[in-house]
């Protein structure tokens, strides 16, 4: 009967929405949804956050996760693509400018720095078992994103949704950043549920939230199920 504490931002919402119906029996939880920059003071978790960790068995991070989308969700005037280091045979958009993967990864890491700092502070403040939940894979359908543009409506109209493969590659680079950060900090990195990924590794339609980047409650339930398997004795 583990007691979990979740810290994250928008990607935590899918888990919270799924929790009442999908949480494994006997699990207890508390959570904090807060901007990563507001979690820290002098690079350490705020005392009031540390206090809430007391007595918890497992610390779960759902920190960050959309920095890749800032760069690659929509087409850029200078179309670009990247060669994924661990899948270099994936095609690139013909005519697109190559951005070296190390540089794109560094740019994502630069943007994710507040989340990575929060993750490190979380680890420093919590002695128990910790898990970081990989952010959801991109929604492959441009039509879905165009149909649910939210705040991006004008930008989507002006620029168009970027090729799904570019969005997928950037997501993989971002995950690589978190995977390495987790390895350095003795935090288990829990990949996105395979059941929610299509054959190309992108999010299956049943997990799409009614917006361009997030998973829905069903996706959240799949993450909780994966978490259950992860924590099973």
């Amino acid at each position: 009967m583990p007691s979990l504490f979740f810290i994250g931002q928008s990607h935590l919402t899918a888990l919270l929405q799924a929790w009442p119906a999908a949480a494994p029996a006997g699990w207890e939880m508390d959570y904090l949804r807060e901007d990563s920059r507001h979690l820290l003071e002098d690079e350490a978790l705020l005392p009031e956050v540390r206090a809430r960790l007391a007595g918890r068995d497992v610390g779960v991070s759902v920190l960050g996760g959309n920095d890749h989308a800032v760069l690659t969700m929509l087409n850029h005037d200078r179309r670009f693509d990247v060669v994924l280091p661990d899948a270099p045979d994936l095609p690139c958009e013909p005519g697109a400018e190559l951005v070296p993967a190390g540089l794109l990864r560094a740019e994502i890491a630069r943007r994710a720095a507040p989340h990575l700092a929060a993750l490190a502070a979380y680890r420093a403040a919590f002695a128990g078992r910790m898990i970081h939940v990989e952010s959801p894979p991109p929604i492959p359908s441009a039509a879905h994103i165009e149909a649910h543009p939210g705040v991006f409506a004008d930008e989507i109209a002006a620029r168009g949704v970027a090729p799904s493969l570019l969005r997928y590659k950037a997501w993989r680079l971002q995950s690589d950043i978190y995977r390495h950060a987790c390895a350095r900090a003795d935090i288990a990195f829990m990949p996105a549920p395979a059941a929610m990924q299509d054959p190309d590794g992108m999010m299956r339609e049943e997990g799409w939230n009614q917006d361009p980047t997030h998973g829905n409650a069903r996706y959240g339930a799949a993450v909780l199920a994966e978490l259950g398997r992860h924590l099973a004795p």
């Binding site: 919270l16 850029h76 670009f80 560094a106 630069r110 943007r111 620029r159």
Partner: protein, 354 residues
């Protein structure tokens, strides 16, 4: 009073008038050049590390520093700078020898495909001909090949659209592939690759070889770009190390003398090739109070660079260099908008009732 040839010479011909009687910071051995630059001219640069100051100076005086390989704007300017974008006209890194420049041309146009096409370094791959250009290296061979192709296109664009090419000769010592004569900017094994005596051999280029390589390069350049003009300089930065078996100071003097001789010969023998005495300006610290080397006695100080810039701008453009202006690198507007919207987008979901 008898007449003789020296009587009609200008002040610049006399040490007392041109050096001794001139304030140290105003000594200018660069005479006004018939090769004139205006803001309309596209000026490309390449060469050893000292050459990057030329590009900086061009920007400062509002001239057209031709850059054909720019970083993608989604990248932060600090990352772009660390990856060698904007340092020279294309992302070729330091080009130390004339042979290296000539081979860059040949590689860019597919006339030379070296055996050494990629070197393993730690968990990545490096380009043997610009081994430090990509921080951390290229992460796959496919990426290195794609970046090379993109780089060569940018090199060709620079050579074919430039009006003036400023090249700073830096070294005469190099390591050469025994297999095909490829010349590397850095000794194999230092920043990638594996050094082996049976694969690579040390070579010190003589002045005649430098002249020949540069002449071949300039001829090739003008075949594609007939109006191209060339300004040659010699880097005053001493060798960091020598493999010639001499004291590094002696080897430095040997190298710089050969390069200076070669640059002079090229400037006097080829049409529209000028020599700019950056080397003399910095080394003139030996003659006056200018202190143009840092405590390591190798790095050129800011005042030295400023002196070179002033002389260059005066000689080729007839203008004064304005004081440095701190330019804040601009964030890509489209990405900045996306970042702001993404925050809003995620904040909206934070408000979702669970």
């Amino acid at each position: 009073m008898s007449e003789h040839p020296y009587r009609a010479l200008p002040d610049s011909a006399f040490w007392r008038r041109a050096v001794e009687a001139v304030p140290p910071g105003a000594v200018n051995p660069a005479l006004p050049s018939p090769l004139r630059l205006t803001p309309a001219h596209r000026v490309a640069t390449a060469g050893s590390c000292f050459a990057q100051h030329i590009g900086d100076m061009l920007v400062r005086i509002g001239f057209n520093f031709l850059i054909t390989e720019t970083a993608h704007p989604v990248l932060d300017p600090s990352l772009a700078a660390a990856a060698g974008y904007g340092r020279f006209s294309a992302r070729y890194g330091n080009i130390y020898t004339a042979r290296q420049l000539r081979q860059l041309w040949q590689r860019a146009y597919g006339d030379f495909v070296p055996v050494d096409s990629a070197w393993r370094h730690n968990d990545a791959w490096v380009d043997p001909f610009r081994p430090t250009i990509q921080p951390g290296g290229f992460l796959s061979l496919a990426e290195l090949a794609a970046d090379q192709a993109q780089h060569f296109a940018a090199v060709r664009a620079a050579f074919e659209t430039l009006d003036v090419f400023v090249f700073t000769l830096g070294l005469t010592e190099a390591w050469v592939s025994r297999a095909d004569g490829a010349v590397f900017p850095v000794c194999p094994g230092v920043a990638g690759g594996v050094f082996a005596d049976d694969s690579y051999i040390f070579h010190r280029f003589e002045a005649e070889e430098v002249v020949a390589d540069m002449a071949l390069f300039i001829a090739a350049l003008r075949h594609r770009n007939p109006a191209a003009r060339v300004i040659l300089t010699v880097s005053p930065v001493p060798l960091v190390a020598t493999a010639a078996g001499e004291h590094v100071m002696v080897a430095t003097m040997e190298a710089k003398s050969a390069l200076r001789l070669a640059a002079g010969r090229l400037a006097t023998s080829l049409q529209d090739v000028a020599y700019f005495p950056a080397y003399e300006i910095i080394m003139s610290g030996a003659y006056h109070a200018g202190r143009y080397f840092a405590d390591d006695r190798r790095s050129v100080t800011g005042p030295g660079v400023e002196h070179v810039m002033r002389a260059f701008a005066h000689s080729f453009a007839g203008i004064e260099v304005p004081p440095p202006v701190h330019v804040t690198a601009q964030t890509d507007a489209a990405t900045a908008r996306m970042a702001a919207l993404m925050t809003l987008h995620c904040d909206e979901l934070l408000l979702d009732e669970t």
